[in-house]
């Protein structure tokens, strides 16, 4: 097996424990089924392109993006733990290069991001199947969103993990950042109708782009705006990945 895949194997082994899977499933299920239906009383329809979606379908699709983002915390946690528990150095005195270590993290988040997207699609499917409009772009768009989103957020988590020293600091910072991303985005509510300041803030948030692309795929609404959002997502992923790689390759031992 190629060294990168051996590292991916090990990454998945140490991160895919029962706790993680439960967290990955329970949290979105609560959002989709509890919040989704509870808010239906308040929000009947969400305007989406030329048509309306019901709120459970809207939030279920938003949760796909949210879960991709959340799952990438894993990459930060892996790097964080490897540094804290000495495995970073141990791997680097083994049959691996830094580049392979970094690459293995990318693959790991890619896999976990896709797994998360698939999982939430399956869980949320009953809610949005009425509105789904499958076409040739559905799968490519969702996969594109899952992979670029995973790399983008995984890079953010990695950057934070290389910059911080104390473990409380790591948890507080990463949770605050991700909480901000989650709630100042179109994952839970549409930009239309939000106060202008907030609506603008939404578009300074990569999760908005991620969620928009996922929705465009699922609800068959590919527009020029979505194309532009994909470019932003890709550019953001590349830039942040570049920074994360630079920081990781310079990480002092």
């Amino acid at each position: 097996m190629h060294p990168v895949f051996r590292l991916v194997n090990r990454n998945l082994t140490i991160s895919l424990n029962m706790g993680f899977v439960i967290w990955q499933v329970i949290f979105p299920v609560i959002y989709i089924f509890v919040a989704g239906f509870a808010y239906t009383a308040l929000i009947h329809n969400v305007p989406f392109g030329t048509r309306n979606l019901d709120y459970p379908a809207f939030i279920a699709s938003g949760m796909i993006g949210f879960n991709i983002m959340n799952s990438t915390l894993i990459s930060g946690i892996i790097i964080w733990n490897d540094r804290r528990h000495g495995m970073f150095e141990q791997i680097l005195v083994g049959p691996f290069t830094r580049a392979q270590y970094i690459l293995s993290n990318v693959y790991t988040i890619g896999i976990i991001g896709l797994f998360s997207a698939g999982l939430i699609t399956a869980i949320g499917y009953p809610l949005f199947f009425k509105s789904v409009e499958f076409n040739v772009l559905t799968v490519p768009l969702v996969v594109f969103a899952a992979i670029t989103g995973a790399i983008l957020f995984g890079s953010i988590a990695s950057i934070i993990s290389t910059r911080l020293k104390s473990s409380e600091g790591f948890n507080v910072v990463i949770n605050t950042v991700f909480l901000f991303f989650a709630f100042v985005s179109t994952a839970f509510y549409p930009a239309q109708g939000a106060p202008p300041v907030l609506a603008t803030a939404f578009y300074f948030n990569p999760l908005t782009y991620l969620v928009d692309v996922v929705r465009a795929g699922i609800f068959g609404n590919f527009t020029a705006t979505v194309g532009y959002e994909m470019l932003v997502l890709l550019a953001g992923a590349l830039v942040l990945f570049g920074i994360a790689t630079k920081l990781l390759s310079r990480l002092e031992i």
Partner: protein
């Protein structure tokens, strides 16, 4: 082919010269002991030799491969147990061993066999199902050392592997290492415990402040630095003898402030006669007298002290 060949190896951290023009040669099938006080540069040397950090200057060849040009190639048949702990907190002991073997591309069947062997050899059978997070620090160290034997290698670096091990675990580890060396493995080993070095090593280098200050076989070191005998004189009653001992003359005398006077001298007979004269002229009775051949520990302390330019005057 030499296992380790380092020439004029230096590493500075800002103003601190952690390793200063070190030359090292380790021959195959040997256990090379690397001794030195805290902060001497042992770990830095190991990090340099295992390509974890880059030297400020110098060259390194590991198993014939230029470690600076081809670090990955140089590490291919090298095991490393670093001084700092390393573990995956949520893996069980047996899983940690198995996954480590997987990382080294060892096939499943071999892994399975080796896990069993190592669990036995390192007395880990009782805790095989426990997570690394839930075992004691000494047990974790044992897992860390055992883990390194999951893969094939020709050269193994061990940075204070016995720290935190109880005496029987320590002895078991040393004997295990000896066994592996008979099987063809070469070991580069650091320790603070001189008996360990004596028990294990074919060759010993002593490093202080980044510089190698002595390098030889334990026997040669003893011959070179251990001609002096150590004589302990126990006197009766407690009183301050510092003033009296000043009359002993140019011998290396140290005094613990109580009843024990220690004497190191190549010319021990004359020194002893002199000290007894001084004691009797001061009406101090000698209760006990013992002659100790110089231990490696004393050689170590002396070599380190000499390298710091303090000479023989201060006591041990």
């Amino acid at each position: 082919m030499l296992c380790v060949e380092a020439r004029s190896l230096s590493k500075s951290y800002g103003d601190v010269v952690a390793v200063d023009s070190v030359d090292l040669v380790v021959e195959p099938g040997k256990i090379f002991g690397f001794l030195g006080p805290n902060g001497a540069g042992k770990t830095t040397t190991i990090k340099l030799l295992t390509t974890l950090i880059a030297p400020s200057s110098g060259t390194i060849k590991i198993l014939g491969t230029d470690a600076l040009k081809d670090p990955l190639g140089a590490r291919r048949r090298v095991g490393v147990v670093l001084q700092q702990p390393s573990y995956e907190p949520n893996l069980t002991v047996e899983k940690a061993l198995d996954k480590y073997g997987m990382m080294w591309n060892v096939d499943g069947g071999t892994r399975k066999r080796r896990v069993e062997e190592l669990l036995t050899a390192f007395d880990l059978k009782d805790i095989r199902k426990k997570k690394n997070d839930d075992i004691s620090i000494g047990q974790r160290r044992r897992v860390q050392v055992a883990r390194e034997f999951m893969h094939e290698m020709d050269l193994l670096f061990l940075d204070e592997p016995t720290v935190g091990l109880d005496p029987s675990a320590r002895r078991a580890l040393l004997d295990y290492i000896k066994g592996r060396v008979r099987g063809g493995l070469t070991i580069f080993f650091t320790t603070h415990i001189l008996e360990e070095a004596e028990y294990l090593c074919d060759e010993i280098a002593i490093i202080n402040r980044g510089r190698i200050v002595a390098i030889d076989t334990p026997d040669e070191l003893r011959k070179k630095f251990g001609r002096k005998k150590t004589i302990k004189v126990h006197v009766e009653g407690v009183r301050d003898l510092s003033g009296v001992l000043r009359d002993v003359g140019p011998h290396d005398v140290s005094y613990d402030g109580g009843t024990v006077i220690t004497l190191h001298s190549a010319d021990s007979e004359r020194a002893l006669v002199r000290i007894l004269q001084v004691l009797s002229s001061n009406n101090i009775e000698v209760e006990d007298l013992s002659v100790v051949p110089t231990s490696l520990e004393e050689i170590f302390l002396k070599v380190v002290r000499d390298s710091e330019g303090q000479g023989d005057a201060s006591g041990i």
